[in-house]
């Protein structure tokens, strides 16, 4: 088969990223300009500030991605872009830039769902095989996605309230950790013990859904109560107890899903997929499923980046999934929920 070359764009939240991806699995360049430092001033992402940074960065990132890859426009087969879900003002910068480049060089425009991108990050390490299951855990999403074939994404379970990453960031704030707190809470968790036994919500229920707001409240109440009676709790133990609860429910529901849907691979993707506790637990769990291979998105590709969008874009290109110049941002784009 002929090589395919994709120029991809990702601007759904607070990273401006442009990548060049060959054959859906090879990164020729992956430029990521992160705004984290800016939003840390405010303790979280401020949408209007994010949009302003994206437009500041976008052409520089395109230029760098092209230069680093050594490719030029006639080499490309398509331009892929995240068009949702995400912050509308942020998405619009990537979508408009991608449409402009596609039109200027007469290239097909490939619309990519950001979550499909998080899943296809795995393809940059090893080819995904189907049927597959993906556990996507990120700042805005926590869902189990069943994929009977490569362009078919079915949500079989999802969070009913907070996303896992969101919960990490919120309890992180209580521990005095700046946004995004996930990585540091993960590190502290490894130094502490689960002594608080926070609730494992919905763990025993007969579905694949999650809930993290009860856990978050239990955590906050525990800390506030200790403050009121002037005792101080070990922060590492708090982090370890929180993480144990999160990892327990994520892994229990995933195991349950694997029992009902036998698959060739389990993919772990999204920002929270960088969590070492979760990675270790799934490795252990999967020893009970010798037919299922664990596909961990590499830690440096778990956060938002355009490489994963290019990997998903290459798959969509094979299926001739194209958009025309009227493509708009869709901030609440979602896969279908199959019950």
């Amino acid at each position: 088969m002929k090589d395919s070359l994709i120029l991809s764009f990702e601007t759904s939240c607070d990273e401006t990223s442009v990548a060049v991806i060959k054959n859906g699995n090879q990164i020729l360049s992956n430029i990521v300009a992160t705004q984290i430092k800016s939003h840390q001033r405010f303790g979280g992402v401020v949408p209007e500030v994010a949009s302003r940074h994206h437009i500041e960065q976008i052409t520089g990132c395109i230029r760098d991605a092209l230069n680093e890859s050594g490719m030029s426009y006639p080499d490309f087969d398509g331009v892929a872009v995240t068009y949702g879900p995400g912050l509308v003002g942020s998405l619009l910068i990537g979508v408009n830039a991608a449409k402009t480049v596609a039109w200027a060089h007469n290239l097909p425009l490939i619309p990519v769902n950001h979550i499909a991108g998080h899943i296809y990050g795995a393809n940059l390490v090893k080819q995904i095989e189907f049927p597959a299951m993906a556990l996507v855990v990120s700042g805005g999403h926590t869902e189990l996605v069943y994929m009977p074939k490569e362009d078919d994404f079915e949500i079989i379970g999802e969070t009913r309230d907070d996303a896992a990453g969101e919960a990490y960031d919120k309890i992180g704030r209580v521990l005095g950790i700046n946004y995004p707190a996930g990585k540091q809470v993960d590190q502290m968790a490894h130094l502490g013990k689960d002594v608080f036994h926070f609730p494992r919500a919905m763990d025993k229920e007969d579905n694949f859904d999650f809930s993290f707001s009860g856990l978050k409240s239990a955590f906050i109440n525990t800390v506030h109560h200790a403050d009121q009676i002037n005792t101080s709790l070990d922060k590492n133990d708090l982090a370890a107890s929180f993480q144990a609860a999160v990892v327990d429910v994520l892994s229990d529901k995933t195991v349950k899903a694997l029992k009902e849907f036998p698959v060739k691979q389990l993919i772990l993707g999204g920002g929270v997929a960088a969590n070492l506790g979760l990675r270790d637990r799934l490795k252990k769990d999967l020893t009970d499923f010798p037919e299922t291979e664990l596909m961990l998105v590499p830690i440096h590709l778990c956060g938002d980046n355009a490489a994963m969008i290019g990997a998903a874009g290459a798959m969509l290109l094979r299926h001739h999934v194209f958009a025309d110049a009227s493509l708009n941002a869709d901030p609440s784009l979602e896969f279908e929920y199959i019950s």
Partner: protein, 240 residues
């Protein structure tokens, strides 16, 4: 020189294609604010009708703001990306000046206004000398009463245009006969005027650093700067 000009600063969307001073094709829409959806298809269509390919363009001229934040970002993103990807010239023009250009043959003071909600406005004052603009009072974000004080000092006849519905009455009360309301058709920005004006302006040196002229910090940023007046604000984005 083949020029593409675009303005999506507020509710109206206007795109034009020119060959030097000659207009080849133009479209202006005022009924929708679906710029993200409409802008690229309209550019495509007008280019086809002008029998031009993207590579034939020599220059992009964009109304860079002030205006609706999302609106000015859409035109600016398309314009700077096009200039970068085709390696052609980019000219940026104040969106207020572009509106004022509808009166470039007038001797009077021209006051384009964009409604900033709650008695606030983006505005500036212009005067034309043989078609060349002078920005008599700089573009700014201000409130009506403060702006009226600035206008009063000129003691001249002023044509007001743009989003004037919530201001016209009070401006007439305060400045009386000095205030002249523009014909509604002339309150709509024209990409043709923008393109012709942009033909004679200097292109920007560094396309990558072009950002919209918001003329206003975000609230979060303004509050933060008040608390941290000395902090260097230039290094908030890092390449990984």
């Amino acid at each position: 020189m083949k020029v593409l000009s675009l303005d999506t600063s507020n509710q109206p969307l206007s795109v034009a294609i020119l060959d030097d001073n000659r207009l080849l094709a133009t479209t202006t829409i005022t009924t929708h604010k679906k710029h993200a959806e409409f802008l690229m298809p309209i550019i495509e269509d007008l280019m086809k009708k002008s029998k031009l390919k993207p590579q034939d363009l020599d220059r992009v001229v964009v109304a860079i703001g002030p205006g609706s934040y999302t609106g000015i970002r859409i035109a600016t993103t398309v314009a700077k990306t096009l200039a970068m990807t085709l390696n052609i010239e980019l000219v940026t023009v104040s969106s207020l000046l572009n509106l004022a250009l509808n009166f470039k043959d007038s001797q009077l003071l021209i006051n384009p206004i964009f409604d900033g909600r709650n008695e606030n406005m983006f505005t500036g004052l212009y005067k034309f000398h043989n078609g060349q603009p002078e920005n008599v009072i700089p573009d700014q974000h201000t409130d009506l009463s403060e702006w009226l004080n600035q206008l009063k000092a000129t003691n001249e006849k002023i044509i007001i245009l743009g989003e004037i519905d919530s201001f016209a009455q009070k401006m007439k009360e305060k400045l009386g006969q000095h205030i002249i309301l523009a014909d509604p058709l002339k309150s709509i920005p024209s990409a043709s005027e923008l393109g012709i004006y942009g033909l004679h302006q200097k292109p920007v040196k560094d396309v990558d650093s072009v950002v919209p002229r918001y003329l206003r910090l975000t609230k979060a940023e303004a509050d933060w700067r008040k608390l941290h007046p000395k902090e260097d604000t230039s290094n908030y984005v890092e390449k990984l």
